[in-house]
């Protein structure tokens, strides 16, 4: 796959379709891959990488990238294409300045999941038919890819590319995933249990803002949490209230725009399952106002700005349905 992508990128650069390529760059280990812009065939051949660890969603970079001179080539995994469309919906990408290639994805590995298994000192990881063969300082290990796969990929919502100029590999289908199972499980807990769960998770937050800054939906010129005049400004949670405040507002502000790409949970240094907050909103509006997938199409009206006169539930439904 990697070779194919490089070949096509070089072609498109050579025929003048694009003048640079937004992709993934090799790191010093097998897994520390950095998003990067490549401007020559040599750079591509030397440093471009596409492997099991290329989890980064590149679409948000297009916000700045498409404001530059000339067309940029971007590689988008199926879930990234949703973010791409959502950014287009919000006028964040200049479509004419980007050439999007949709690429297949069978799920990405998360090195933290290997570490969770006690595997450390990782020197190399090879995927051989669904088994990760890991070389470490302390000996070799084997882990089935499924067990090293990020939660968002295990519960992949769609293998379909909803936007692209060209496709490399197969296009898939929207999947009937189990991504709401954990939300449901939480819903079925008692209020006290839920409170304890979230208190435990959110109290670990260090307010590094990685979840926000990586989020393709977070494109504000100035975030309310960075704005001393907003009434929400704060740099660190000085009280546990502020941990909740930050995460409730963050999730609320992206509700109806969040494509459930899972970047927030991927980057959280504390492994807080932030996607469970976003998914709660998604699950709620799907159930209450009809199925909606942000980014499925450009120009959709989000359920957060829409309403029906007669069919919308009253807020009291929360009390009736909620476990106490």
């Amino acid at each position: 796959m990697q070779e194919e992508l490089i070949k096509r990128a070089v072609e498109l650069m050579e025929d003048g379709t694009v003048n640079r390529v937004l992709g993934w760059q090799k790191g010093q280990f097998v897994y520390d891959i950095t998003p990067a812009v490549f401007t020559s065939a040599d750079e591509l051949k030397e440093n471009f990488v596409y492997n099991d660890f290329c989890g980064d969603n590149l679409s948000k970079y297009l916000k700045d990238e498409t404001e530059k001179e000339g067309k940029v080539l971007v590689f988008l995994k199926p879930c990234d294409t949703y973010s791409f469309n959502q950014l287009l919906t919000e006028y964040k990408i200049h479509r004419e300045n980007v050439y999007a290639i949709g690429i297949e994805c069978y799920g990405k590995a998360d090195v933290e999941l290997l570490r969770r298994k006690g595997i450390d000192g990782i020197l190399d990881v090879k995927n051989e038919n669904g088994t990760l063969k890991i070389a470490t300082i302390y000996g070799d290990e084997e882990v089935p890819m499924m067990e090293a796969m990020a939660e968002r990929c295990v519960n992949c919502k769609s293998k379909k590319h909803v936007a692209y100029d060209e496709l490399i590999g197969e296009d898939g289908e929207v999947l009937d995933s189990n991504r709401f199972d954990m939300v449901e499980k939480l819903e079925q807990m008692s209020a006290q249990e839920r409170f304890d769960f979230w208190q435990g998770e959110l109290s670990r937050c260090i307010r590094c803002n990685a979840c926000r800054n990586v989020c393709p939906a977070c494109t504000c010129e100035k975030c309310v949490f960075d704005n001393p005049d907003s009434g929400l400004y704060n740099k660190a949670a000085a009280d546990s209230f502020e941990e909740k405040m930050f995460h409730i507002i963050r999730a609320y502000h992206v509700a109806g725009r969040c494509t459930d790409c899972g970047e927030c949970s991927r980057v959280c240094p504390e492994h807080i399952p932030l996607h469970l907050l976003n998914r709660k909103f998604i699950k709620d509006y799907n159930e209450l106002y009809g199925s909606f997938m942000a980014g499925a199409e450009v120009g959709q009206v989000s359920p957060m700005v829409d309403f029906t006169m007669d069919n919308d539930a009253e807020p009291s439904i929360v009390q009736k349905g909620g476990a106490e």
Partner: protein, 148 residues
């Protein structure tokens, strides 16, 4: 803070009322010399759709034990659609608070028209009673804002 300090729990209740219906309804309750608990403190907003989730959270942070939003009945909004937006936004916000384990009875939306002075009183009586029963807000409090 209530004068009945140290006797029983006196909740702080913030009621956001839209200018056209509910605030007038509250005025009517006064004009008719009806009565509801002093715990209820009303904030006037042009429309219930003006109420930002952050106001609701702010109220809890600063010491509210219950927050209630009142607007025109669906279909009667002075701005035609405002309360439809409120309905969705607050349903989703309340659901999220509930999901985080915050007691769902602490938040409420009620539609009160300008003619429903009695209803305003009934709603506030009931809400105050429910919050009193529920006790002080502990799950969404900010310790710095607690009175000492």
């Amino acid at each position: 803070m209530s004068v009945k300090e140290n006797t029983e729990f006196q909740p702080t209740i913030v009621a956001f009322c839209c200018n056209w219906c509910s605030y007038s309804g509250a005025d009517l309750a006064g004009t008719n010399r009806l009565s509801y608990p002093t715990n209820v403190k009303i904030i006037r907003v042009p429309c219930s759709c003006r109420i930002n989730p952050m106001f609701v959270l702010r109220a809890f942070q600063r010491g509210a034990d219950g927050v209630i939003l009142c607007g025109c009945h669906p279909g009667d909004c002075h701005y035609m659609e405002g309360n439809y937006h409120t309905r969705r936004r607050m349903t989703l916000l309340f659901s999220m608070l509930n999901y985080l384990g915050i007691e769902s009875a602490r938040t409420r939306v009620e539609w009160v028209s300008a003619a429903e002075g009695q209803r305003f009183v009934d709603v506030m009586d009931d809400f105050t009673a429910k919050i009193t029963e529920l006790g002080p807000n502990r799950r969404l409090e900010d310790l710095r804002c607690k009175k000492n």
